[in-house]
């Protein structure tokens, strides 16, 4: 099947056909940010084209412009050489441009088939009464042909994130997408699932479709793409062939400098036991058990990472240890003392610091000032209050001091926290948590959504904490990060710790297998 337009005039004259997508001089301004600054981008039919860049480089803005969500302040878009103007996402869909967002746009209570036809205003999607049987059959055919295994009758809430992603791709195929954009599609996948996805994408390209693959992971880009366009600071800095590029050259294009990939050796002294989990169970938000008999120990001065695919109970485990979720069974000992189940204050008092996954929703009160957020836990202490009265001046002084020490880029201590960028917000959380002099630090996806510079800073702080004798429990879905930081790696699957290895013995394939529910090979 070829989806490329044949009626193109220049193509008929023997000249090379125009690119499937061409974006020229795209400018998009948001208050205070120039998200796209004269970006040029083009992708041909039949190629997988990667859009590589750090967070905030302008990748999402560019793809939102291509899908009609935003209108550019300046610049032109050509589809097969024809200038187009998208006034709404509908126009882009009509041009058969489709995007798989990082956060899926699916109706959870609908079946897979229903989601696939939802919003389609041709054929099946247009009829008043859905002919479920016919749609399901069509979806089943597509999923078979592209190796996107998913039951068309299943309801979306029953599916794993990987399966949900397949539904999104099926949606695009059902509508005969000519240009498919995927925004960081591997973030929710195991390494094995990612490999399967890459095969599907290659196949789609072979058919003459254009696949735009947005990522900030170099090895993925190298593995799947034909060409790579690198964005940096809102500008397009280069378009290179993936085969000619090296990981190093891509990295330096992306960051604008050579990355320091050598790890400083860290003298490690395993200290006393700071956290001891024995057969801990706790319920998830839906009422079923999310943590099922997890056992783990963390010593002072070491970083223990919990790896796993999102949704296997890691978040719930972190919340349980932090006292935000009630353990239904099992024992949590911090420095030998039991934490009262479901009581965050008792955990804080025992010396547990917690960097939550959901920074803006949990880690800070977004409308309150930075100073208030820095005092969120310490306000009860003598340094910040005098009996029932707050010492406003002291709180402010402390905030100024912490803002300086952690180099938080902020208009001032009185500015509301929600105005901060992700990296600076995380610094606020870290500054507050460290200033509580913790024994145990739980860091749940502490670098998610941060750019490379901020990630390095966060990593440095975590190492520093460990060097100071704090036990660090790192929860992350990013294996690279885990291998970079952790002394020991525990793998969580379906609520239990299914395997544990030291960093020296860690093997990516093996960890990937455990994450996907494969057996621990050493157990055989």
């Amino acid at each position: 099947m070829t989806v490329q337009s044949e009626k193109d005039r220049r193509g008929a004259d023997g000249a090379p056909p125009p690119p499937a997508v061409e974006m020229r001089g795209i400018v998009k301004r948001f208050p205070g940010v120039l998200a796209n600054d004269r970006v040029d981008f083009e992708a041909a039919a039949g190629e997988v084209h990667a859009l590589l860049g750090e967070n905030g480089a302008g990748k999402s803005t560019l793809s939102n412009i291509l899908t009609g969500l935003y209108r550019p302040d300046a610049g032109e878009i050509f589809i097969d050489g024809e200038p187009v103007q998208f006034h709404s996402p509908r126009d882009a869909l009509d041009a058969r441009i489709f995007m798989v967002h990082q956060h899926f746009r699916l109706v959870e209570t609908f079946t897979v088939a229903e989601n696939v036809v939802l919003g389609d205003h041709r054929g099946e999607g247009r009829t008043f009464r859905l002919r479920h049987r016919a749609i399901e059959q069509r979806v089943a055919e597509l999923s078979k042909r592209y190796g996107l295994a998913v039951d068309p009758r299943a309801r979306v809430w029953q599916l794993s994130l990987g399966e949900q992603q397949r539904v999104e791709i099926l949606k695009a195929l059902y509508r005969e997408a000519r240009i498919l954009i995927l925004d960081e599609p591997t973030a929710v996948l195991t390494p094995q699932e990612a490999d399967v996805l890459f095969e599907t994408l290659r196949e789609m390209a072979v058919e003459g479709r254009t696949v735009v693959f947005i990522s900030h992971k170099l090895h993925e880009v190298k593995a799947v793409a034909d060409r790579v366009t690198v964005l940096r600071g809102g500008r397009s800095v280069a378009t290179v062939s993936a085969a000619d590029a090296t990981l190093r050259s891509l990295a330096s294009l992306m960051v604008g400098r050579e990355l320091d990939s050598v790890q400083p050796a860290r003298a490690r002294t395993a200290g006393e036991l700071v956290l001891e989990l024995t057969d801990v169970w706790s319920d998830g938000d839906r009422g079923d058990s999310a943590v099922r008999g997890a056992s783990l120990v963390v010593h002072g001065g070491e970083i223990v990472a919990v790896a796993g695919v999102a949704g296997n109970g890691q978040r719930e485990l972190a919340e349980t240890v932090a006292g935000m979720r009630r353990a239904t069974r099992g024992e949590i000992l911090v420095c030998g003392k039991a934490i009262r189940a479901g009581d965050p204050r008792s955990a804080i008092a025992a010396g547990v610091a917690y960097v939550p996954e959901d920074r803006l929703g949990t880690g800070v009160a977004p409308s309150l000032s930075i100073a208030s957020n820095l005092a969120l836990k310490g306000y009860r202490e003598r340094s910040s209050s005098h009996g029932p009265l707050l010492r406003i001046g002291r709180i402010r002084e402390r905030a100024v001091e912490l803002i300086q020490r952690y180099s938080i880029a902020a208009p001032g201590p009185g500015a509301p926290a929600r105005l901060l960028s992700g990296g600076n917000l995380q610094k606020v959380v870290l500054a507050r948590e460290f200033s509580g002099k913790p024994r145990l630090l739980i860091a749940a996806s502490p670098t998610r959504g941060l750019d490379v510079g901020a990630i390095e800073t966060v990593h440095a702080y975590l190492r520093e904490a460990a060097a100071d004798g704090v036990g660090v429990l790192l929860i992350s879905e990013d294996l690279d990060e885990i291998l970079l930081l952790a002394d020991r790696v525990a793998v969580m699957y379906e609520g239990a710790i299914v395997g544990e290895t030291s960093r020296e013995e860690a093997d990516v394939e093996e960890i990937g297998l455990l994450m996907a529910g494969g057996q621990d090979p050493r157990a055989d």
Binding site: P31, A74, D343, I348, G363, A365, L390
Partner: protein, 373 residues
């Protein structure tokens, strides 16, 4: 034309936008007056005279403004924490009932006036707080929506109020005298239970009711509580992000109960002032106190004051003035609905003006690439 979020909110805007909204509201209401065949300027002149300048006008304005200040403060205290206590109306009735009982009982037993008044204040607070703690406890322990429960309890409170006066066995009911045999009415407070007022000798004398003074004091106390204490800090965090409050180890349930209790107590105090300052009896007439809708108007007052207790006092005074003018002027040429229309327009433009504090409107067009480069 585009609407953008403002990165910074300049200080002058916070004053300029409400002031501008008010001017706009008077302009828009002027159009309504014009359309209904009135001269807008002379109508405004009449309103100002009736609200502030005529003999005794300011006293009347204070009579309207005092209960609004209490209910406005009650709403502000709860809404600040995003606890939507719509029940100031019922809590005010309950406060009136308990304060009246205290006044009748202690005033009739020869206690000194100061002590009787103090007891009435405490009783009013307790009555309002107890009533507010019903939706408060339901919210804290069962996550019930307090908007609905507190609203429904207003009707219950209104019926309790009516019942206590219409029931022949009731302690509150007046049983002696000719009037009492014609229509059910409540006992009048003994002299020892009447709240004093300070006279200011200008424009024929303005009576400054004790309740108005208490309202100002409460406003300062609430302001202090919310900005300078640990309690206020916790309430602020909880209002902004319940998740963050839990994360920081704050005791959420206690705080919900405490804030609802405070909110109810302030509304109940409004009821006490209603009895002690103005009515001197329990007004159970279905067309009396219950038709004033102080509790609901208080929500409007609080919203206009952006839940700032000190601003509530000022806004209550202005809205009280407007209502007073409406009451005085209503008649053939000044329909009573007109003041309601004006209030509506003021609220509408004030809330609409909020948008301008947070967003800015920009006029521009999409340029071709060549011009931008």
């Amino acid at each position: 034309m585009r609407i953008e979020r403002r990165l910074r909110q300049p200080r002058w805007l916070i004053v300029a936008v409400p002031a501008g909204s008010l001017v706009f509201a008077f302009f828009a209401a002027g159009l309504v007056l014009y359309a209904t065949g009135h001269n807008a300027l002379s109508s405004y002149r009449q309103i100002i005279d009736a609200a502030f300048l005529n003999s005794g006008a300011l006293g009347q304005t204070l009579t309207q403004a005092t209960p609004l200040a209490f209910t406005g403060l009650a709403a502000a205290a709860a809404f600040r924490m995003r606890l939507f206590n719509i029940g100031a109306e019922g809590q005010l009735f309950m406060g009136a009932i308990t304060a009246d009982a205290a006044g009748l009982y202690l005033g009739g037993h020869g206690w000194p006036t100061a002590l009787v008044i103090f007891a009435m204040v405490i009783a009013g607070c307790a009555g309002g707080a107890a009533w507010a703690l019903i939706p408060g406890a339901l919210r804290a322990f069962f996550k019930t929506n307090e908007i609905i429960t507190s609203l429904m309890l207003n009707y219950v409170a209104a019926y309790v109020l009516t019942y206590l006066v219409f029931n022949t066995e009731s302690y509150w009911r007046q049983t002696k005298g000719f009037n009492a045999s014609v229509f059910p009415t409540s006992k009048t407070l003994p002299n020892d239970a009447l709240w004093p007022s300070a006279m200011i000798h200008v424009r024929g004398g303005i009576a400054l009711p004790l309740g108005a003074g208490i309202a100002v004091l409460v406003a300062f106390l609430l302001w202090f509580l919310f900005t300078r204490t640990r309690f206020g800090f916790e309430a602020q965090v909880l209002g902004d992000s319940p998740r963050a409050a839990q994360y920081a180890g704050m005791r959420t349930r206690r705080k919900i109960l405490a804030v609802m209790g405070i909110s109810g107590a302030v509304a109940g105090l409004g009821g006490a002032s209603q009895v002690g300052d103005f009515a001197h009896m329990l007004d159970a007439d279905p067309n009396g106190l219950q038709k004033q809708y102080y509790g609901y108007t208080g929500i409007v007052v609080a919203a206009l004051a952006r839940y700032n207790p000190l601003a509530v006092v000022v806004v209550a005074f202005l809205i009280g003035a407007l209502q007073n003018a409406g009451n005085t002027l209503q008649g053939a040429d000044f329909p009573s609905g007109l003041v309601g229309v004006m209030q509506g327009i003021i609220l509408f433009s004030a809330l609409g003006g909020e948008l301008l504090v947070r967003y800015r409107v920009r006029v521009g067009r999409t340029m071709p690439a060549t011009e931008a480069a």
